[in-house]
């Protein structure tokens, strides 16, 4: 017997049970948990009814030909999935989603990190500049997109008007109507809107980098670049994981900007998966088909997020 008596339950140890001191914390803990559960219950109830249950139901609907209006529908097996996976329109939407999701994640993180580094070095009016950087994130995506829509209007928009007035007539473009650039324009607008939160997370992490490590590196003769490469950057690994994950999910599910700016057009060229789901599910009376597309989107988001997270977590361990 290597285990000490104290480590074994009293009854097994053959001694008298000591109920009062041992059970009270357990009972208190149970009560505490019950109270905590009661606190969670309202949110959990709402979340279950509003999110989880409909999400599970969409699996069932994805196997039907439901039009979203008529209560009558029939089961069609995997026909919706077959149609989706053989649809050029769906794959175009998938490609756009990946471009916007990955593109915005990489660009926003790179720009936000650069801005956060600059803000971190600021000694005067840091609050002012932090506010300026964060301001676009305070405007709803819908409103921001509406403003951009006016600014980028081909005939009357501020951007083209300025370009024409400055003599750059050839540079005036149909920013939201040219099929060759429209996804890039969407990417730019998404990055512009979503950068604020990312910058603040990086800034918070930068300010928590231990200065003694930085100073030690400098004393050892490390250049600024080397300090960043070997001290600051590894310390930011956690923030990079969080920011990349959040940005990718935001990019995968991008909807409002597409809805306002291009409505998926011209034609189908700028449709994203989230917009595609909305369009077929609501606009084209194919709720079953739209549900199947939503399931596919869920799988794509889950798979890519898990893979990306796994890679970034491994990087954190190395760091």
């Amino acid at each position: 017997m290597t285990a000490s008596t104290a480590e074994r339950p009293a009854a097994l140890a053959g001694g008298r049970a000591r109920p009062a001191p041992d059970r009270r914390p357990a009972r208190r803990m149970t009560r505490h948990r019950a109270v905590m559960l009661l606190f969670i219950a309202p949110a959990l109830l709402v979340y279950t009814v509003m999110v989880i249950a409909p999400s599970i139901q969409s699996i069932q609907l994805s196997l039907t030909d439901w039009d979203g209006i008529n209560p009558a529908y029939e089961y069609v097996g995997l026909a919706n999935y077959r149609d989706i996976l053989t649809s050029d329109r769906f794959w175009n939407a998938t490609r756009n989603t990946l471009v916007l999701g990955l593109g915005s994640a990489v660009i926003v993180n790179a720009v936000a990190l650069g801005v956060a580094l600059m803000l971190d070095k600021l000694h005067h009016a840091q609050g002012f500049f932090r506010t300026i950087v964060y301001l676009p994130a305070l405007v709803s995506g819908f409103i921001a997109a509406t403003i951009w829509k006016y600014m980028l209007n081909f005939n009357f928009g501020a951007v083209n008007t300025v370009l024409r007035d400055l003599g750059f007539e050839g540079a005036a473009m149909d920013w939201l109507g040219d099929n060759e650039i429209v996804v890039g324009v969407l990417l730019f607008i998404i990055c512009f809107t979503l950068g604020g939160n990312t910058t603040l997370i990086y800034l918070a992490n930068l300010q928590s980098v231990p200065q003694d490590l930085v100073e030690a590196a400098r004393i050892d003769g490390a250049s600024r670049g080397q300090v960043f490469r070997y001290v600051t950057w590894p310390m930011l690994a956690g923030a990079v994981t969080v920011n990349m994950t959040l940005m990718m999910i935001a990019g995968w599910t991008i909807f409002d900007q597409v809805m306002v700016l291009t409505a998926g057009g011209p034609g189908f060229v700028s449709e994203t998966m989230a917009f595609f789901i909305y369009k077929v599910g609501f606009g084209e009376y194919r709720a079953g088909y739209g549900s199947a597309a939503a399931i596919v989107l869920f799988i794509v988001v889950l798979a890519t997020t898990v893979l990306a997270n796994r890679y970034m977590r491994s990087r954190e361990v190395q760091a």
């Binding site: 309202p42 980028l152 005939n155 009357f156 109507g177 011209p266 034609g267």
Partner: protein, 457 residues
């Protein structure tokens, strides 16, 4: 002192943490708070009561300013007059894909009592519409409404049923006079007109596809000659469904659409909104603009610039005919007022909706519509209505109605899956116009989509 003690004892609580009782009370309160939204949701109706009157909501698509003004003007007049009901307007702003928004609103389970209906058959088959009583239909001319299989009428028109005669070109009359140009009598003359304007160094035509639906404005008159061939046989789309026609039969109009877009349409059409074409015309950035609002668009032009001398014409076919689609009074493409089944369940809501429709088709309301710039619906008391001929260019519209070349055709769709295809076909055409696909590809993918939808019926 009592307050001070209370404060001090309250202040002591955080130091020890929340007591079990207070935690339980807080948790219970939160649970109750969570239940409130559900209770409120359950109480949601298609209206309510305002100042003792039954309030009903009227959902409609904003488009041209004239229709917006008519909806507001008639609702205000009704609200001032009715002792029992009030109409609250629920406009869905321009730029919204209206059928999509309508469906989204339906999904909330909180439909308005009165709906400016689209994709009618889909909602009718789903049991979402209530019958419109004879007290309303008896005010209308018999040819502008029709009962469905169950003998009930579910949709009545919001305006005069002049078919798609409003799908016309609005043009700058002064420009035409200045350059010796005339309204074309054939399609060849139309192309020659576009060439002449282009030769002057001006942009001949502004059109819009920023929203999807205005893309019909240029397309429909071009396709009308083909559609018209199938009018007597039940319509083109029904013929395609029966295998007697195919999307390939639309190759020529699609080619014309592409040619016009490439050669004559003002740049930026892909992102231009419908209402912006008025501005482009009035700013003289284009000599003509597509429209689907008929006199309503002339009224808009007049409001923007009273000095602008606008006229309208309909794009003629090769043989000079003006092939114009007749309104469907039933079927999936029928549009107009509908009363929701949700309002019928309420009873009071239904009565209020019926009262509003009775007012809408009264001479008083029709006079108001005419004064605002819209042609009043085809009511039996039409002779009593004071017609408005003061809108510049309106004479052109009435001349079209009397034109001997005017040929009405029918193209009614009797299956609800057409709505799905229709949206797809519009986008596929825009894609083709934009050069992303060829005409053959557009036809092939549209035919495939049509067959898929037909198969699912």
């Amino acid at each position: 002192m009592r307050n001070a003690r209370a404060r001090s004892s309250a202040a002591a609580v955080p130091a020890r943490g929340l007591s079990r009782r207070s935690l339980m009370q807080s948790a219970g309160g939160l649970s109750l708070a969570a239940a409130v939204p559900f209770a409120l949701t359950a109480c949601g109706t298609s209206g309510g009561t305002t100042g003792g009157k039954t309030a009903i909501r009227f959902l409609y698509a904003t488009g041209d300013e004239t229709w917006n003004a008519v909806a507001k003007g008639v609702a205000d007049a009704f609200n001032a007059k009715s002792a029992t009901a009030t109409v609250e307007l629920e406009p869905l702003p321009a730029g919204t894909d209206y059928p999509t928004a309508m469906k989204t609103m339906d999904a909330t389970g909180n439909w308005p009592a009165l709906v400016d209906m689209r994709d009618t058959l889909t909602y009718l088959e789903a049991g979402k519409l209530a019958p419109i009583p004879e007290s309303v239909t008896s005010l209308l001319n018999d040819e502008v409404y029709a009962p469905v299989e169950d003998g009930e009428v579910y949709i009545v028109p919001t305006t005069a049923l002049n078919g798609e005669l409003g799908f016309n070109m609005v043009y700058d009359k002064d420009y035409f006079d200045e350059h010796g140009l005339a309204v074309p009598a054939t399609y060849a003359e139309f192309v020659a007109l576009l060439d002449a304007i282009k030769a002057n160094g001006d942009a001949p035509l502004a059109t819009a596809a920023g929203e999807i639906w205005p893309s019909d404005q240029l397309w429909k008159p071009l396709a009308a000659p083909v559609f018209a061939q199938y009018s007597a046989a039940g319509g083109f789309w029904n013929a395609v469904r029966a295998g007697d026609a195919s999307l390939g039969d639309l190759r020529e109009p699609l080619q014309r659409l592409k040619d016009l877009t490439d050669a004559y349409v003002l740049e930026g059409w892909q992102s231009t909104q419908d209402a912006q074409t008025t501005t482009l015309l009035v700013n003289r950035q284009a000599v003509m603009a597509t429209s689907s609002a008929g006199i309503g668009r002339l009224n808009d032009v007049n409001k923007v610039d009273p000095d602008f001398n606008a006229g309208i014409f309909y794009v003629p076919a090769d043989d000079g005919r003006l092939n114009v689609l007749k309104n469907s009074v039933n079927g999936d493409t029928a549009s107009g007022f509908a009363i929701s089944a949700q309002a019928q369940e309420d009873g009071g809501q239904y009565d209020a909706a019926v009262e509003f429709l009775e007012f809408y088709f009264s001479v008083e309301a029709c006079d108001l519509m005419e004064a605002t710039g819209m042609i009043a619906p085809n009511v039996k008391a039409a002779d009593e209505i004071e017609r408005n001929s003061s809108i510049p260019g309106a004479d052109d519209y009435f001349a079209l109605l009397a034109d001997p070349n005017l040929t009405w055709f029918a193209n009614e769709t009797t299956w609800s899956g057409f709505s799905t295809f229709h949206t797809f076909f519009r986008q596929a055409r825009i894609e083709m116009q934009d050069g992303q696909t060829t005409i053959d590809e557009c036809i092939a993918k549209s035919q495939e989509e049509f067959d898929d939808q037909a198969e699912q019926e």
